[in-house]
Amino acid sequence: MSTREIKDLTRRDYQYGFVTDIESDSAPPGLSEDIVRFISAKKNEPEWLLDWRLKAYRSWLEMTEPKWAAVSYPPIDFQSISYYSAPKSKTDGPKSLDEVDPELLETYKKLGIPLHEQEMLAGVAVDAVFDSVSVATTFKGKLNDLGIIFCSFSEAVQEHPELVRQYLGSVVPITDNFYAALNSAVFSDGSFCYIPKGVRCPMELSTYFRINAANTGQFERTLIVADDGATVSYLEGCTAPQRDENQLHAAVVELVALEESNIKYSTVQNWYPGDKNGKGGIYNFVTKRGKCAGRNSKISWTQVETGSAITWKYPSCLLQGDGSVGEFYSVAVTNNYQQADTGTKMIHIGKNTKSTIISKGISAGHGQQTYRGLVKVLKGAENARNYSQCDSLLLGDQCGAHTVPYLEVKNPSAHVEHEASTSKISEDQVYYCQQRGLSAEDAVSLIVNGFCKEVFRELPMEFAVEAQKLLGVTLEGSVG
């Protein structure tokens, strides 16, 4: 379906209009102003937020789906999606792990996920609510004492509207791109985090919350603000395979780093990638951007992307404050028929700004991936420095890796370096490892983990160990 047709359809629906029952638990498929109002009303949102959503919706109508990414998929019918459903009640889930897909359990086991977490991930209804929930409450108290706000986005809208209003859309404006506009119109929920002046958050945020956050739906919204001199490390996602009946995911993450503050954002993304033939699987169209608004602030993105059928994702940094630093460390894996077009944008605006990009792409099976990176140095960005390194590793000869670096330098004092390499895991290497007692799978894992070392060491310890295992499981059977 062409975009024009989509628009026509959208308009048609709107023209006829329909009234959605505010009491109902879910919205009928389709998108219209009515649906946007319905979502906002369901969430009991203030007027300004509804207006903001509507503005986003109207801009979205005028926009077209981006086509420049090197991914292909059948057209998405935006009118067939339901944009709101109330969180599922626990009783809908399986009663015990015995009722859960054994293949999924097998994967959990390989990843070494503790039993009680397995139950949570699989959505088993358990009455004696798990450790982690009580742990979560304990931590919440501790965070509270420090003045740290960490809650769901909906809660933040109710409890801290002034903060949300000040920063929402300040990094990713509603008109930024097609999917960001869509998200802004219909986002369901997500996380909000505010670290007050001078406070160093004493724990990795969301380690203990990751299960709770699992149900935030397909249009997730995250906003993290580090005030002057604050430090925070945030973990998103989990290594366990996540299934979701929603095929389209379009999240927006905004980070704001004020003076001398430091935000570290780590992601492990393992959405269902589809089966061996590429059927099913999540489309993951994410907009992630951080603004180093203050002097000497720092934002660091670290991501391990192994899931999804299609990934379209460019965590970026706007280096506005003088002396600010942006970092991007990424491992992306595509196997079977997965496609990924991912990379980063580093926009140097302030003086003496510095950015580092380390991207490791691994392709196996028929996987295709593209690294797309932009380094832009604006006129006023005196003494900007960038170092980029993009390495690709191929397993087999049906897969592909492509590197597309864009460079725009408007200030002659800039110092920009780019290195790229492509290598292949050879049968000789696997044979050599096997002759030393390792299985083919362990051999591949060993080589792949070696390849990703520079990224893994940026991850928080516990996450790094999980990520290594995850890579092994993801690439299982791709050699030999």
């Binding site: 050879s426 044979y431 007692g437 070696g450």
Partner: protein, 250 residues
């Protein structure tokens, strides 16, 4: 330890090993010498189980097991070590890390406990000293950028750490300088014991001055055409393979 009977094997569509017989007893050191392209490395890869090398006839028993039934890693775990003629580079994987993964995989398969990082480091230091390897090579990626001789020395380090029941060393002495040859020989000699056997594939009698073999075989046309004591190697050095090649094709 190793018994090969009437072994026929082919690679790339051509028969390379032809009715090969060989018996290596526990504690013995055998040397195999033969012209280029006669199938010595092929024999090593067939024993190791490399894909693409197909056994069409014959039997191989190793330490009481049917070797040909085992996968490459099972053979390694059963105690078979191949010193590669061309050691492979593995970028990104530190030499010491690789060797620990290897040793622990083998220990695990044998039902032994895995060595922790500290114990392993102790062992590795000892073995590195034995083959006089500069510790800086231990943290470099496996064989990457190693010189030819350094790679060979690294093979012997691996052998010394893994202490295999049977080591098949394919031209480990080729490309070594005079001092390195002495050191590598010392490494090989250190494995020698009633429980371990060694098969040396070599072109040079010089190695055999340091590691004196119990048996020397002349390999030609895909099989062993003559066996004897150390004096056979000296004779080969003098007269070459001409006499044997005609024997092989006869």
């Amino acid at each position: 330890m190793l018994t090969i009977k009437n072994l026929h094997a082919s690679a790339g569509g051509a028969e390379i090993l032809k009715a090969l017989d060989l018996e290596v007893k526990s504690g013995e050191v055998h040397a195999i010498m033969g012209p280029n392209g006669s199938g010595k490395s092929t024999l090593a890869h067939v024993l190791a189980g490399r894909e693409g090398y197909d056994v069409t006839e014959g039997h191989v028993t190793f330490d009481g097991q049917n070797l040909l039934d085992l996968s490459v890693e099972e053979r390694a775990c059963a105690g078979l070590f191949l010193g590669f003629q061309y050691p492979v580079e593995i970028p990104g994987v530190a030499n010491n890390y690789f060797l620990r993964a290897s040793l622990n995989a083998i220990r695990k398969a044998r039902g032994e406990e895995e060595l922790d990082a500290m114990d392993f480091l102790g062992l590795l230091k000892k073995k590195a000293a034995l083959v006089e390897m500069d510790p800086k090579f231990l943290t470099r990626p496996v064989n990457v950028g190693f010189s030819g001789g350094e790679k060979k020395r690294n093979e012997i380090l691996q052998m010394a750490v893994l202490e295999p029941k049977l080591a098949v060393l394919d031209e480990t002495d080729s490309g070594l300088d005079i001092d390195a040859l002495r050191v590598v020989s010392k490494g090989i000699e250190s494995l020698r014991s009633p429980e371990h056997s060694i098969v040396l594939i070599t072109h040079y009698q010089r190695l055999l001055d340091y590691v004196v073999p119990d048996v020397v075989h002349v390999f030609a046309g895909g099989r062993i055409v003559q066996s004897g004591g150390k004096e056979l190697a000296i004779e080969l050095e003098k007269n070459g393979y001409a006499a044997f090649e005609s024997a092989a094709s006869a």
